[in-house]
């Protein structure tokens, strides 16, 4: 725990909001208007919390905090630079997946707590989707950890000194990207809130601070996921010429941009299709990815 730097992580989490917002504007092809965004934020924070007309407002108001907690813990496990990281643990990559797993109960709590049929439906969709993608996520983590012989993210970055995992294990990357997009509930996997279909779904009832927390959590999640993708697949800081942190920042931004861009390019996946893809394609392929990772490790990384 010698590297634990809670302040740095919290600062990074807060910086995620404007950073990702800027990217969103750029991807949508709009000129960023920070003044307007600040005004919106002020109005949002100024408005009172909603009391859902349901039986369970405790769960309802707890959910955004759980979401923020999960996303910040996930962010803390990302190795940013050789000397700058939040929690550098032996099982850090596992902690990352474990933190992401807590987005699910948060969604269920939000959907159930809101007490609206469509919100409950949003939670239901989310559970089905995350269940289907839990295994690919864990398997991919394992297959990128295998060459490094360690679940410590910094070790995984170092082992990519010569060849980034994206090149060595393209299949793992292909499984990883949709799964993490889904975890961030970004389009085209924004099933639990699903703009046109569920009208906000699990988040439809949130107002004021709750809404701000949800918005923050989603952006922190995106940052965490992009950072982890850069670290696990794009060799993190391990490229020459530029300073390590700059490389990491550039790669993270590129991944985030890719995820946001894909969200605009594809229609929202249908729930049934997403599920059948996950169970029939992604899960068997993730087994294959692990076998491949094992062979790769035996042949080249020993």
């Amino acid at each position: 725990m010698s590297y634990f730097t809670p302040l740095a992580v919290v600062g990074l989490a807060l910086a995620a909001a404007p950073g990702v917002w800027l990217l969103e504007q750029l991807v949508a092809g709009q000129r960023p208007a920070p003044g307007r965004a600040l005004r919106d934020l002020r109005i949002m924070l100024g408005s009172p919390l909603q009391r859902p007309e349901s039986c369970d407002s405790a769960l309802f108001h707890l959910a955004p905090s759980l979401l923020v907690l999960a996303s910040v813990v996930a962010l803390a496990t990302v190795p940013w630079a050789p000397g700058f990281r939040g929690i550098d643990l032996q099982a850090g990559a596992l902690l990352f997946v474990a933190a992401l797993a807590y987005v699910t109960p948060a969604m269920v709590m939000a959907g159930w707590g809101a007490g609206r049929p469509l919100a409950v439906l949003g939670g239901f969709r989310w559970v089905a989707l995350m269940l289907a993608y839990a295994m690919p996520l864990a398997m991919v983590i394992t297959s990128v950890a295998a060459p490094a012989g360690s679940l410590r993210p910094t070790d995984i970055v170092r082992v990519q000194h010569a060849v980034p995992m994206a090149v060595a294990q393209p299949l793992a990357l292909a499984l990883w990207l949709p799964a993490v997009t889904a975890v961030c509930f970004l389009p085209p996997f924004d099933l639990p809130q699903a703009g046109g279909e569920l009208f906000g779904g699990v988040f439809a009832e949130y107002r004021g601070l709750d809404l701000a927390l949800v918005a923050l959590a989603q952006r922190v999640l995106l940052l965490a996921v992009s950072g982890m993708t850069a670290a696990l697949f794009l060799a993190g800081w391990e490229w020459p010429l530029l300073p390590p942190a700059v490389w990491m920042g550039l790669k993270t931004a590129a991944v985030a941009w890719l995820l946001l861009w894909a969200g605009r390019r594809f229609p929202r996946v249908a729930v049934d299709r997403a599920l059948s893809l996950a169970w029939r394609v992604a899960n068997p392929l993730s087994m294959l990815a692990i076998v491949y990772a094992g062979l790769l490790t035996l042949l080249f990384y020993r």
Binding site: C55, A91, F124, V127, G149
Partner: protein, 188 residues
Amino acid sequence: MSDLATAIVFWPAVGLMLAAAVFVFITSSMARAGLLLLASLAIEGLVFLALGSRFLGFLQLLMMSGEMVIMVFFMVMFMPDPGGLMGMDMTHDKRRSATVAVAVTAALGLVAVLTDWPARVVGRGAPDVRAIGFEVMGRSMISFLFAGMTILLAMVGGVLLAKHGGRFGLPAAGDEQSGEHSPPEERS
């Protein structure tokens, strides 16, 4: 972790874990019961962490989240009164089961306290994740394989038990008819 840090994590975690476990069977809301069980078992993961087993702690956190959330949804979808608002009684033999539970706890607790356990301090430095990997792939390979086969069997069995045609009734390719329900003979 220092002793102090361990204690700071351990005691509140134990308290919360037990409280959540007890409330699972007190609350009348099924959804809350499921989430409380999740809380209890997730906090057990923190207890593992406090005891120095990081890998197991994180794994516990990871596994429980998925499993318990499924449970919550089973609750919500299959229970007559998931919100617990109708005051339906879901218990029986309350007194007898409480007696048995207290007796079991007392017996186990006595064994725990009275036995002369080897008095060793909590180990610093957990076993390496790598070591666990070697264990699983080395000495315990056979049992691991066995566990794996069991999981596979259970998965297939579970799917067979629960399977009943597709839920969404999507037509097969080239199937002109079934835009809506799957045909009745599939359903029976």
